[in-house]
């Protein structure tokens, strides 16, 4: 049987249904956000764990031109290396009418029983028959073909062959086609031979137990073994153990979600403080009566804490299932983007505990101060009444000095300033909502600006990677002979590893050799300067290099072994933002060629076209690949800048859409908070409204007064948010940039967002004031003057 006290609490909550719903909703949004972040994070971690188990991620990957199969067994016996698998990976061009796209063809030694770099069966024949390929499942849709359809491939040799798409598989080790723009197909070694490429494996996947240093050491030993057998490793990739290639963007999203969750929770907490404080004020007489009939201070405080607890419980009931659903949808969507299978849904107890803590403990904590105040009200104060307190301090100043402003305006200002604690909390909630709202939109603006700047990185329109190094001059001459091409540069691409001061070896980085100061390549620098002619052995490293070589900066000297040759000392002159994924080092072409012992050879050809629209670039790319193939050059891939820009925009677009959803949610929560607080203000002024009407105020006059208060509060909150959002936007942009791109974004403050927030806040203030004001005005003057 519920006690009278319980029924009092229930009665109070039901007496102000809209306010109860507002408060519960505000908390619910915050708890949902917390649950969604925590739940999504937990689910994503399990997804990654499952994927790791599914895909058997390699500890290190070594690429070389050709690895004799006999060496693979020897690699397995290298100390520290637990296992190794070899495969051949060939870059082909998928011919699609006049267009062509990159398709990476992977020839697996076997489809079942791979120990490293596992693939999982999808649909169709397993393994595929000779002459057929299985498309990676994220590529299948992009191919636009049914199972059984045929694709035409141009191999590096220039040969064109038709392959049947026999089904699909899932390879968690490769990025999804949606995010990378690259198609993946899997064939047997026999099929690849039939297509005209009978070469040996060119990729070694290693499993090295231990940490990253152990993996680097193992990889170093393997590359030494290969070198002793005349095989030069062109690239060595040693990821962070257990790290997933998409971990950084996922972490960026988690960071943004966490910011959202904290902001929403805080706004909800501010609202609880204000609501419970208002309740205590409204019920001061009741508190006095309860104490007169035996309620102790503790019992009084418990009543109001219980009220806050019920707000929290209501929020939790709503938020827990909503958060679980949102987490699942988010992980499901994200997993699809990054080509993972989402783990089975579950609600970890720690996530539930976090939501319970956020939904229950925070409102209780918020209600503590007002409940304490309630417990301390004496019966005499409560029943005799201290009298309505008049305005003090700044409120008096305003009242006296507002000069010729209408009485209504002066009244509105003094009313607002009369309750400083509530005003502070309301303004804080609005400012918080506004700050994060504008900061989120600023992150969006910064991402777009960074994208635009990244476009300037590529001064070229078509980027062609050759299957091996060719004489630079021959490449450039052939390219310049293709219609539509205005400039062409052939760049060397070498592999180099760093010998660290402690003697350990880093992974092998790609070193790009372009003419110093080339207009076709302009890395966006975060520190230092660009390469200049005459610099000699100088390099610029991108931010991904700093992942494994932290602390490097302009002025530092590093020892690099280029192309497996003796290490020489180079000077770091600049740090560049990551534009191309993965660690890249930039050096002058002739200096690099000398260091590599491969003068005048290049493996990459970049071309500027006469016209720069997407179609012109694509036509030029097709013509170039045809022309180069006819001239006997083996092409691995060919990409237009337009396509890369589109890909970047799509990838950024996911985060940007996400940011916009966040902004909307914040606006919603901020609006709920503002509505709740303004409605309290109006409710407390019911008696005053009655008095105004008793002395002749029309409905319009009262509405104007109430709206003026709401607008003042909204404007004040906006004014506080404006400078804060400038700082918060930069901090958030930097954090997202570092996570997403390895370097801060180029900051762009969203003035439009700031103005939009102002308009939104003012509009919400009007609505939030008018609705309760109209309700108060419907009471008769007699009723209102008897209102207590």
């Amino acid at each position: 049987m519920a006690s009278a006290r319980t029924r009092k609490i229930a009665g109070d909550l039901l007496a102000s249904r809209s306010r109860t719903v507002l408060v519960a909703l505000s908390i619910a949004v915050g708890v949902t956000a917390v649950g969604m972040v925590a739940g999504a994070r937990s689910l994503m971690l399990r997804t990654l764990d499952d994927s790791r188990a599914e895909g058997a991620f390699p500890s290190a990957t070594i690429e070389a031109e050709s690895i004799p199969p006999r060496l693979v067994a020897a690699v397995r016996r290298v100390p520290g290396v637990a296992d190794a698998e070899a495969r051949r990976v060939v870059g082909t061009r998928l011919l699609d009418g006049v267009d062509s796209r990159d398709l990476v063809l992977v020839a697996l030694p076997r489809f079942q029983g791979l120990r490293i770099g596992r693939v999982t069966r999808g649909s169709g024949a397993w393994p595929p028959a000779t002459g057929a390929m299985l498309a990676e499942r994220s590529s299948l849709g992009s191919l636009g073909l049914p199972v059984g359809g045929k694709v035409r491939l141009q191999l590096p040799s220039g040969n064109r062959r038709t392959v049947t798409v026999a089904g699909s598989l899932h390879d968690v080790n490769v990025p999804s086609t949606r995010t990378s723009g690259v198609l993946y197909g899997y064939v047997t070694s026999e099929t690849l031979r039939r297509l005209g490429d009978g070469g040996s494996p060119n990729e070694l996947l290693l499993r090295v137990p231990g940490d990253r240093r152990a993996a680097e050491l193992g990889a170093a030993r393997v590359t030494s073994l290969l070198a002793r057998n005349g095989v030069v490793a062109t690239e060595t990739i040693v990821p962070k153990p257990g790290a997933f290639w998409a971990a950084d963007p996922v972490n960026a999203m988690v960071l943004l979600l966490t910011v959202l969750a904290v902001a929403c929770l805080l706004i909800g907490v501010f609202l609880v403080v204000n609501v419970v404080a208002a309740l205590v004020t409204q019920q001061t007489r009741q508190i006095g009566v309860m104490k007169a009939i035996g309620a102790t201070p503790r019992a009084t405080a418990e009543l109001y804490l219980a009220t806050a607890g019920i707000y929290g419980l209501g929020a939790i009931v709503l938020a827990v299932p909503l958060a679980a659903l949102a987490a699942f949808v988010l992980v499901d969507y994200s997993s699809g983007l990054i080509n993972l299978n989402p783990a089975s849904f579950s609600l970890p107890p720690e996530v539930l505990a976090l939501q319970l803590a956020a939904g229950l403990l925070l409102p209780l904590a918020a209600a503590f101060a007002p409940a304490l105040r309630a417990s301390r009200i004496t019966v005499r104060e409560a029943i005799a009444g201290p009298g309505r307190s008049g305005p003090r301090g700044i409120a008096v100043l305003l009242a006296e000095r507002a000069g010729s402003a209408p009485v209504a305006v002066r009244l509105a200002l003094t009313n607002v300033l009369r309750r400083k604690g509530r005003l502070l909390l309301t303004v804080a909630a609005l400012a918080l909502g506004g700050t994060v709202f504008v900061a989120v939109l600023s992150v969006r603006a910064s991402m777009l600006r960074t994208l635009d700047e990244a476009a300037t990185y590529r001064g070229y329109d078509v980027d062609i990677v050759l299957d091996r190094a060719y004489p630079r001059s021959a490449l450039e001459r052939t390219a310049l002979g293709v219609p539509g091409v205005s400039r062409a540069q052939a760049w060397a691409v070498e592999g180099a590893y760093r010998i660290r001061p402690d003697g350990s070896r880093s992974q092998t980085f790609s070193v790009l050799g372009a003419p110093a100061g080339s207009a076709l390549l302009q890395p966006s620098l975060t520190r230092g300067r660009e390469l200049r002619p005459g610099d000699g052995r100088a390099v610029i490293v991108n931010s991904d290099v700093l992942d494994s070589e932290p602390g490097l900066g302009p002025g530092d000297r590093v020892r690099l072994a280029v192309n497996g040759r003796r290490a020489t000392t180079w000077r770091v002159v600049g740090i560049a933002k990551r534009v191309v994924a993965g660690p890249v080092v930039y050096a002058d072409e002739s200096t690099l060629a000398r260091a590599a012992g491969e003068p005048m050879l290049a493996q990459r050809l970049v071309v500027a076209t006469l016209d720069h629209d997407g179609d012109a670039e694509q036509r030029a790319a097709t013509a170039l690949t045809d022309g180069l193939a006819r001239a006997g050059f083996a092409i691995r891939s060919a990409r237009t800048s337009a396509a890369l820009r589109t890909l970047d925009r799509n990838n950024f677009g996911i985060i940007i859409s996400f940011l916009l959803v966040m902004a909307v949610l914040l606006a919603l929560v901020g609006g709920l908070g503002l509505a709740g607080m303004l409605s309290i203000n109006v409710l407390e002024r019911t008696r005053e409204i009655g008095i105004l009407r008793a002395v002749g105020a029309r409905d319009r006059d009262v509405t104007t007064l109430v709206i003026a208060e709401g607008l003042f509060v909204a404007a004040l909150g906006w004014a506080v948010a404006a400078p804060l959002s400038l700082l918060a936007g930069r901090a958030l942009s930097d954090a997202v940039g570092r996570l997403f791109l390895g370097a801060p974004l180029s900051y762009s403050y969203s003035v439009g967002g700031l103005l939009f927030w102002l308009a939104l806040a003012l509009a919400l203030a009007v609505v939030a004031s008018v609705v309760p004001a109209r309700r108060a005005m419907r009471l008769t003057v007699r009723d209102v003057l008897a209102y207590e």
Binding site: R5, K8, M290, A292, I293, G294
Partner: protein
């Protein structure tokens, strides 16, 4: 039966600090209320009667002096202890009913029992229903306060005050917000409670209510007006009584001492508050004869003040014991006589009767 007073106030002083300075609401206030009494406290606004009630209920604390209710030193209790003590010992009835608006009439009556953790939940409800039945509102137990009339709400408030079966009921203007019919029913209820051995102390402006009390305490200017003074100046209204009290001086005379002498100028008016005085008449042979004896609640010295001239008789304290009088200066006496027609008539009548005698 316990002969100790249920309420004892001893030299209670209450001062308030206000922006305008220190305000003394009660000045060395002393009062005893016996068990089973029905006491009406009257006085003009600002006289200190609400402060008196707040002292007794523990709502406020004295600046000086002590308050005991049912043996408990209320002035020494902490805030929390006071709440619990009050819940069990004092049933408070307010002028504006002060029922909690969001719970039913029944729950309003149950609430004090819950706060004081008395009886089981089932017993509380049964008891509350009984109390509501006693005040004639059992049929409306589930209704909210806003659904019943003011008079009904006040009856529920009385039921709530009785919830924990306290020995004392205190009301501050309990009929102040009721029409005459409802006020009458509330007064009747109080009388029934007194018959049931409850002690009731009511602050009131309601003359009907005051008339039904077994005892009336008049508060004026922060003090209890001495009962004998009140009796002697019964024709003065509260304002005039307050003026008189503000100017009264307490004087004590040893047995046999002369208070006023024949032929002296008339300076003061005297009210006897303790002991007996003898009115002396001088015989032609010079002997003094006692022509009258006056006791507590009676007055003397009015004849010369009203008719002019010097004292016509000597008045002395009897040999039985000391005499305590409250003396009022001439100026104040003249003013009161001038302003109060009933008082002037009464004084004239008594003076006339004494002269004829």
């Amino acid at each position: 039966m316990d002969e100790r007073p249920l309420i004892r106030l001893q030299d209670v002083v209450k001062r308030y600090e206000t922006p305008a300075g220190s305000l003394t609401a009660l000045r060395r206030f002393s009062l005893d209320v016996g068990r089973g009494e029905f006491v009406a406290v009257i006085g003009k606004s600002g006289s200190g009667k609400s402060t008196l009630v707040n002292m007794i209920t523990g709502i406020d604390r004295p600046s000086d002096g002590g308050i005991w209710v049912d043996g408990t030193p209320v002035h020494e209790l902490s805030e929390g202890a006071t709440a619990q003590w009050r819940g069990r010992t004092v049933g408070v009835v307010f002028q504006f009913f002060q029922l909690l608006p969001s719970i039913s009439l029944l729950d309003n009556v149950v609430l004090p029992m819950e706060f004081c953790r008395l009886w089981t939940p089932r017993e509380r409800r049964e008891r509350a229903l009984d109390l509501l039945d006693r005040v004639g509102l059992a049929g409306k137990a589930k209704k909210l306060p806003a659904a019943v009339s003011g008079g009904e709400q006040q009856r529920v408030a009385i039921a709530r005050a009785l919830a924990n079966d306290p020995p004392l009921l205190v009301g501050d203007e309990p009929t102040g917000n009721l029409d005459s019919a409802n006020a009458a029913s509330v007064i009747e209820l109080f009388e029934q409670l007194v018959a049931d051995d409850k002690t009731i102390l009511i602050v009131t402006h309601d003359n009907d209510l005051a008339a039904r009390a077994t005892r009336t305490v008049v508060v004026a200017d922060g003090v209890v007006v001495n009962e004998y003074v009140r009796r002697a100046l019964s024709k003065l209204d509260l304002d005039q009584l307050g003026l008189a009290v503000a100017h009264l001086r307490c004087e004590t005379y040893p047995p046999g001492s002369v208070i006023i002498r024949k032929g002296d100028p008339a300076v003061d008016f005297y009210i006897i508050t303790g002991g007996t005085v003898e009115i002396l008449l001088q015989h032609p042979d010079g002997a003094e004869v006692v022509v009258n004896r006056l006791g507590s609640g009676e007055y003397f010295g009015e004849i010369a003040l009203m008719r002019g001239g010097t004292r016509r008789n000597t008045v002395r304290a009897s040999a039985d014991g000391p005499v305590e009088v409250m003396a009022l200066d001439r100026e104040t006496f003249d003013r009161l006589v001038r302003e109060s027609e009933p008082a002037r008539r009464e004084l004239s009548r008594v003076a006339e009767a004494r002269l004829e005698a």
